[in-house]
């Protein structure tokens, strides 16, 4: 199986992807939206939109501190501006509404969200805990479900590799979000966190299918040797398994046999996401894009990272033991 034979190349690519993504996130940062920082977001739609600088200047007369105005198009296709300010009081909101609708033609507030700083902080904590919680439970489950897989690496190895795979799958969409934030000013919201969690679920499922086949092939390609011995009057029975094929061949076959399934499920998921991206409207467009990146990353990682890594680790251990 070429994925296993040339595993060094695929693992090197993965390392580059992960490092690159981490660098992008580190240097560009994430453009956190008001869901996490607190603040207000007002979408005002116009039949004929006013000039952006004119609008900015007028809002600035209200002394709301730092504001940002971003041109956009609302769900009905009208020209709109997204105005982000700090958390607004009721009177400030009313004043802002009359200010922005005084310009342009037929201005109307189509969406208004205001989030207090406490809720923002809490949401940020929750998002982090949720992601960590999901990763932890997945690893424990994988280690549990694959117990007894035995030779030549323990089930905890599969669990640990799953973590590594999941880090890869979180880094890629997050880096994309970082770029989107830098280039297009798109902000990280709760939907992004949901997309990440969905990617985690998708990717681990993909990885488990491959590992499941590895488990099955290991069972089919081993001989059991039982030896009995007596120690202090107690009978012991030792069971030893010997693989009839090299481990890398067994893993390679498992990958080959699950390849079609991995690609087909990725394709159907990707197709559904494409429909969401092109037809689903502006609210969930970024969500769909992040998920597409996640599905691609998840497919790559379960095929080109998980299994190659488990083989590389097994060989490294075997080498260490013989030395």
């Amino acid at each position: 199986m070429f994925l296993i034979t040339y595993r060094k190349i695929f693992l090197a690519i993965a390392a580059v992807i992960m490092l690159g993504s981490a660098l992008i996130i580190g240097s560009l940062g994430l453009n956190l939206g008001i869901d996490f920082t607190g603040g207000s977001l007002t979408e005002v739609s116009y039949e004929i939109a006013p000039n952006k600088t004119e609008l900015e200047n007028l809002i600035n007369t209200q002394n709301l501190g730092g504001i940002s105005v971003r041109a956009s198009v609302d769900e009905a296709g009208r020209d709109a501006y997204l105005i982000r300010t700090r958390d607004l009081s009721e009177s400030e909101r009313v004043e802002l509404e009359s200010t922005v609708t005084s310009l342009g033609e037929a201005g109307e507030i189509s969406r208004f969200t205001s989030i207090g700083p406490v809720i923002g902080q809490e949401l940020r904590d929750k998002a982090l805990y949720a992601i960590l919680g999901v990763v932890l439970i997945i690893v424990i489950y994988v280690a549990f479900a694959f117990r007894g897989i035995g030779t030549p690496v323990s089930s905890w190895t599969y669990g640990a590799i799953t973590i590594f795979v999941l880090i890869h799958d979180v880094l890629v969409p997050t880096a994309l979000m970082s770029i989107l934030g830098y280039v297009a000013g798109i902000e990280v919201d709760v939907l992004f966190v949901m997309a990440l969690l969905a990617v985690l679920g998708y990717s681990v499922n993909d990885t488990i299918v491959v590992f499941d086949r590895v488990r099955e092939n290991l069972m089919a390609n081993r001989v059991e040797k039982r030896t009995k011995r007596e120690e202090a009057g107690v009978m012991y029975e030792d069971v030893n398994y010997t693989l009839t094929k090299p481990y890398d061949k067994i893993v390679g076959e498992a990958v080959r046999e699950t390849l079609a399934r991995s690609i087909n499920t990725s394709l159907t998921t990707f197709i559904a996401l494409l429909a969401l991206y092109f037809l689903g409207g502006a609210v969930t467009q970024t969500f769909a894009l992040i998920l597409m990146a996640g599905v691609l990353a998840g497919t790559y990682s379960s095929l080109c990272i998980a299994s190659p890594l488990v083989v590389t680790y097994a060989q490294w251990r075997a080498k260490k033991e013989t030395n």
Binding site: E75, E90, R93, E108, I109, S110, R111, F112, T113, S114, I115, G116, V118, I119, E122, L123, D125, K126, A130, G133, V134, I137, I138, Y141, V142, A145, V190, L191, M194, A198, G201, Y202, V204, N205, I208, V209, D212, R215, E216, E257, A260, R261, N264, T265, T268, T269, F270, I271, A272, L273, A275, L276, L279, G280, G281, V283, T284, F287, A288, L291
Partner: protein, 483 residues
């Protein structure tokens, strides 16, 4: 196709299989019809519940300051607060408002008590905030006979006017003695309000002296100042009606039989014990039991929400169509079976959305569209295993059966991890994330179930053949790359 040595058994088995498949498909079709009826009929009992971002409306989050309150009393106070606000929201005349208490999860150091108010269809958030921000008002008002008489006269005039000219607008401005006639219930202020209330309690009328036994009543005790005012009012207005108003709504209007000097009053009005208890509770906290502060607001215009909903549905329909097409082209006959399973999945999910009910949001819709692509996974797993066996020369039906056995462990492990993720999400999440987690979790279970029941039954009903037969049927049961 029949086995010559035992002609009967396979035939009857085939019949049973076909019958089962028919029953399943009819059940799904029936369910689909029911879902459709619920979705399109305006008066259905189980319509889809749309979130504010799809239906339009306002979402307000208040934080209650419970720092000075004994922790044991907090839940009760919050429920009182909820009732007070709910009553006010109902005055606002919104259809299906939601007022709920939400306690921040254990993640934060200090639990924060929040009150979430959802007002569908209210896009003027300012008006809503003002309405809720109003302190609830308990008022005692005297029946105003003069005003009642004027109102009656006006009504008579109106009905006269209607029959004469058909125009109400002109009559609406009629003034008597130079004053506009109030259209409010005919009561006038006495100055006695909830401010003078000390406590209110639930009581039951005694069974003596001809009274209806055990009728639930609410007794209120005034403060010293209030008692004085109350005594004065009752002394001067014997045999008149005293209206008791909460937030401007007339609760009851008992008759003043005699001057009341003891500083207590009884409110009766044919309450059930439950109603009386609620009223006593609400009166005791005529003012908000704890101060609240507006933390976050969210408003979505109704037209915008409809737009989002329309696009989400469009994405769902096209996504479903494309996935069906892909499965059919790649897996041929089994692909058709997977299509039936996917349609069953969609039907069951939509039915559950209506039944539970799950509040649909833009995020929930997006998650559902995503699940359309992932739901065929169990089918794909089985078909791939089936293909392997089929290629070895095993008959198609047996290959399908083996496919299910072999794919089971992967389906199980994959779905359990997904389910665990959903549970964690539900546990940690805010209401928005909870909705997503719920849809995600139910989706995992249902996609597995439809694969195991619908796909399995239909697949085993398909005619049995071998790859080596080389017929059209043999090709249709193969897939993708193979001939």
């Amino acid at each position: 196709m029949t086995d010559s040595s035992q002609p009967q058994t396979p035939n009857s088995q085939g019949f049973i299989r076909a019958f089962r498949a028919l029953v399943i498909m009819l059940a799904v079709a029936g369910l689909a019809f029911w879902v459709y009826q619920n979705a399109v009929q305006p008066e259905a009992d189980k319509p889809f519940k749309l979130g504010l971002d799809l239906a339009g409306g306002s979402h307000l989050v208040y934080e209650a300051d419970v720092s000075n309150i004994d922790a044991a009393e907090v839940p009760e106070l919050m429920s009182v607060l909820r009732d007070v606000i709910e009553r006010r929201v109902n005055v606002f005349g919104v259809s299906e408002p939601i007022v709920q208490v939400e306690s921040s999860s254990f993640v934060t150091e200090e639990p924060v008590q929040r009150l979430v108010v959802e007002l569908p269809g209210v896009s003027d958030v300012g008006e809503a905030v003002a309405e809720i921000g109003r302190t609830p008002l308990l008022e005692f008002k005297l029946y105003d006979e003069a005003l009642a008489a004027q109102q009656e006269t006006l009504q008579n005039l109106e009905s006269l006017g209607e029959s004469a000219t058909g125009s109400r607008a002109e009559i609406g401005n009629v003034t008597i003695d130079g004053e506009a006639i109030s259209q409010e219930p005919p009561f006038r202020d006495t100055g006695l309000t909830g401010r003078y209330l000390e406590t209110a309690a639930l009581e039951f009328a005694g069974g003596n002296s001809g009274q209806l036994s055990n009728e639930p009543l609410v007794s209120v005790r005034f403060t010293a100042e209030g008692a004085e005012l109350f005594a004065e009012i009752t002394r001067n207005n014997v045999n008149k009606q005293l209206g008791i108003f909460l937030d401007g709504e007339l609760l009851s209007a008992p008759n003043i039989n005699e001057p009341i000097t003891g500083g207590t009053a009884i409110i009766s009005g044919g309450f059930t014990a439950e109603e009386a208890r609620a009223l006593a509770q609400n009166l005791s906290f005529g003012a908000l039991p704890v101060p609240i502060e507006l933390q976050s607001t969210q408003t979505v215009g109704a037209s915008l929400g409809a737009e989002v909903l329309g696009k989400g549905m469009q994405a769902g329909v096209y996504g479903l169509g494309l996935v069906l097409l892909f499965m059919l082209l790649w897996y041929r006959l089994p692909g058709l079976v997977a299509g039936a399973a996917l349609l069953s999945y969609v039907t069951i999910m939509l039915a559950l959305f209506q039944l539970i009910p799950v509040t649909l949001t833009a995020a929930g819709l997006a998650g559902f569209v995503l699940s359309l692509g992932m739901a065929v996974d169990a089918n794909v797993l089985v078909f791939e295993r089936m293909k392997e066996e089929y290629a070895k020369g095993i008959s198609s039906r047996e290959a399908a059966s083996i496919g299910f056995t072999r794919a089971w462990s992967a389906i199980r492990d994959g779905n359990i991890t997904s389910l665990l993720s959903a549970i964690i999400l539900f546990w940690f999440g805010t209401s928005l994330v909870k909705g997503f987690a719920l849809v995600f979790g139910i989706g995992v279970i249902m996609s597995m179930l439809t694969a195991l029941v619908v796909t399995r039954t239909l697949l085993l009903t398909l005619p049995d053949t071998k790859k080596s037969a080389g017929t059209l049927l043999a090709t249709l049961l193969g897939n993708g790359i193979q001939k």
